[in-house]
């Protein structure tokens, strides 16, 4: 049942106060030809119906609050609710972006302090808080790379961005959007960048490298310094996709290894809620030499006042106003609540939890890279595949057990990939149940593969036909 199916003419779920100014005939205000002749096509329902409808919808949804959510590459950790209260304070939620700076000093201070914290965590100089998500941060970073080379008169020459084959899809997509040519570097046997191949690829055409570290296999690249040196020697810049920063907080810093730009996904590492697919925030932090290229505006502090400023060679704005400010409030709250020791503990426990689960599962599922992992790891369902059970089936079966499935079929370089990220906010008890469930499913794959293929059966709907959806798209009521 959709809203428009519940609609009855004339109803309304919200009433405005009566118009308190003398009414003028609309014709006098706006010529008729500008006015709508059709109905707006919105549902006509009342507040009780709206509440029940969305409450019922929500009950058909999994969330971190509902159960384990080991979705790899997404860091589905607990989102402290006090941050919601803080972001909802009128002093944050009810301020207008065009207010004079003098009336929003608290907001600017918050942005400034968050910027500094992120810079310290990254081991770099200064942030732009504008990007609305990781991919947006990538775009901003790549535009900075472009602007940097242009500044050095190399814009026409340095047109290639090198990206590992294990990278998240946003990396090549962002590079394309920024106007670069994408060159893919393969992974080696140990799951890291194939250093030899990289060496062959670089040259005066190299604008930079985008590296995710720990990479999407959950592995820390053992040759990080060498990789950095190769790129820098070739005159390229180093972009660090920090989506997986939940593994490295206070452990190691991209800047210390020579990276020039890092983006963080605040909605992952810094625990702002994912909201069903956003809003997030993907601030970037850059090294000293790139500060002048940051998107505008940035926040600066001088003469006892915070103010917005435009960096000297700014690439320009990339988002309206100041980024997803409400998300920044939550991330900053998180950083202040945890402090240095707390953040380090986050990474330690995230990594410990991942290794624990990986180790317990590697007898039952093929583990393509049998190394200590970071905050996540990638199994392969290929053994089960031989039994006629796909990774998709395994994922769907997990849903029957009240667990969100891991990320599947990504990274692309692992056959039948199952990417598991437990996060630090899960208890050993929860991990043990999950391990047991995964073992049970492995057993089911052996004994009763059909059951897996018809999974899920205990969910609000059964397995949905994605092909049909794409073939004859029904995109609205």
């Amino acid at each position: 049942m959709l809203l428009l199916e519940m609609s009855k003419p004339g109803r309304c779920g919200y009433t405005l106060p009566k118009l308190d100014v003398p009414e003028v005939s609309l014709d006098e205000l706006i010529p008729r030809s500008y006015l709508r002749e059709t109905e707006p096509g919105l549902p006509q329902v009342t507040e009780p119906e709206v509440v029940r409808y969305f409450t019922q919808l929500s009950r058909k949804n999994h969330g971190v609050d509902v159960g384990f959510y080991p979705l790899g590459s997404c860091t589905m950790k607990y989102n402290p609710r006090v941050h919601e209260d803080i972001a909802a304070l009128p002093g944050f939620s009810r301020i207008h972006p065009r207010q004079p700076e003098s009336t929003v000093q608290g907001a600017l201070q918050l942005m400034y302090e968050l910027d500094q914290c992120l810079a310290e965590i990254a081991g770099l100089a200064k942030s732009s808080l504008l990007p609305a998500a990781g991919a947006h941060g990538e775009l901003a970073g790549l535009l900075i790379i472009k602007a940097y080379h242009k500044f050095n008169g190399e814009a026409d020459q340095r047109r290639e961005i090198i990206i590992p084959d294990s990278a998240h899809g946003t990396n090549p997509a962002s590079a394309q959007m920024a106007g670069f040519t994408v060159k893919e570097v393969p992974s080696d046997q140990r799951g890291g960048v194939d250093v030899a191949a990289l060496r062959e690829m670089v040259g005066p055409q190299t604008a930079g490298l985008m590296l995710t570290n720990p990479n999407t296999l959950g592995l820390f690249d053992e040759n990080l310094e060498e990789i950095a040196a190769i790129i820098h020697d070739a005159g390229g810049l180093l972009y660090y996709d920090g989506a997986n920063a939940n593994a490295i907080l206070g452990i190691t810093r991209p800047g210390d290894t020579g990276f020039d730009i890092v983006h963080f996904n605040l909605h992952k590492t810094f625990s702002t809620p994912h909201g069903g697919g956003g809003p997030g925030a993907g601030p970037i932090v850059v090294s000293e030499k790139l500060v002048d290229f940051l998107p505008s505006p940035i926040v600066e502090y001088s003469d006892g006042r915070y103010h917005f400023a435009t960096p000297k060679h700014s690439i320009g704005p990339i988002k309206a106003f100041y980024g997803n400010f409400g998300v920044l409030v939550k991330a900053y709250s998180y950083i202040r609540r945890l402090g240095a020791e707390g953040l380090k503990s986050v990474s330690e426990n995230a990594v410990l939890n991942a290794n624990y689960v990986m180790n317990q599962l590697k007898d039952d599922y093929y583990l393509p890279y049998d190394r200590t992992c970071m905050h996540e790891f990638v199994l392969s369902g290929k053994r089960q595949k031989e039994l006629g059970v796909s990774t998709l089936d395994i994922a769907k079966r997990l849903l029957d057990y009240g667990v969100h499935a891991p990320t599947i079929y990504f990274p692309l370089i692992v056959e039948e990939a199952i990417m598991i990220e437990p996060t630090e906010t899960e208890s050993k008890a929860t991990l043990d149940v999950f391990i047991q469930t995964m073992k049970t499913i492995a057993e089911e794959a052996r004994r009763n593969p059909e059951q897996l293929k018809s999974a899920p059966t205990l969910t609000p709907v059964k397995r949905l036909d994605e092909t049909k959806a794409a073939r004859q798209p029904i995109l609205k009521y």
């Binding site: 006015l35 997509a173 794409a470």
Partner: protein, 449 residues
Amino acid sequence: MVPYIPNTPEEQQQMLQSLGMNQIADLFADIPEHLRLQRPLDLPEALTEPELLRYMGKLAQQNINLDQCVSFLGAGAYDHIVPAVISHLTSRGEFLTAYTPYQAEISQGVLQSIFEFQTLIANLTGMEAANASMYDGATALAEAALMSCNITRRSKVAAAANLDPQWVDILEVYLGSQNIELIRVPYGSDTGQIALDAFDLKTGSELACMIVGQPNFFGALEDVEQIASWIKGSGGLLVMAVDPISLGLLKSPGEYGADIVVGDAGCLGNPISFGGPSVGFFAVNGTKLIRKMPGRIVGQTTDRDGNVGYVLTLQAREQHIRREKATSNICTNQALNALTATIYLALLGNEGIKQVAYQCAQKTAYLRRKLVEAGFKLRFNAPVFKEFVLQVDVDWEQVNERLLEQGYLGGFPLKSAVPELADCVLIAVTEARTRAEMDQFVELLRGCR
């Protein structure tokens, strides 16, 4: 005691032992010793919850918020009334703490609500289909321009010179990276409306699209029909950037024959929140355009038992499948803000959205009239919706300071954003303003002259 970490030291030890390790540091053996940070991060001390609330509360109090003053600020962000019930629904853990609905069978809540968003946005704009949301209106517009080039295989984009300058700046950044040329179409100096007659219409044949704001940055309404027939006649697309609230009153882009419609839906029930998170929308007409849209799209389908359900669809456009050939790099979008907008639109419905739009128009007209009566000059003479430009030879920043002392946030001075309107101010009036507030505002302004 580190918050939010449930495992006890004993459990951590057990887990380490199961890995044959003795200490946490062993987990990080792959990181060369000298790359490991040898000191604690230099961050402010950790705060307990009460301390955090106190600190953040203090920062919040250092801002003047819209509950503490009367605001006539607009210029891209508006103080519309927000129904109280919305946040009670969006804050439910199942919405708040879910991610992109990759596992459809346990994500029907998010999926169906996105399908509703697509439906309501498509209906409101009069278009065939909408996506699941964009970062905001400005980036939605940039993506619309890129998509226009992609569709038409042309590499010039025309944008009205009366668009929000901030949006245009962002557009330029996006287009610049693809070497797409941005051409500005002038506006009439009396009307503030697009002045096609002052533009070389033959350029049309090179244009991927023409971008029209309705209303434009000055709050004025464009005569879109003429523009539409010209750009479509030239083989380009008509891209409209609209205020969704205005569509309770104004002709829908679909009725004008727009190809792509974008806008910012932050004003639909979302807290204003210093301008973000907001949410952009993106709607199109025609199968070809649908299959080239950026961003997430949800489609209806059936499950094994034939029951209706919803899934992410047309994913072949997206970065996780197509990588560098994707229609956009967007991944995480603004789902919760889109949900907010959906609930807002559901609550208001046809009657409510018409009321809001009608009241905006009436109240704006009232203040405009009152100001004229008080001897102020309107900069443009075109019809307006909820915003207008006032021209007075004063230092608007100083005036605003004086207004603020009385609890009023004056309009947005155009000096820096639109240099040619240095003596102007952009004033927005929403349904949230009362007659008494407007009357007093006129009085105060009179005093500031």
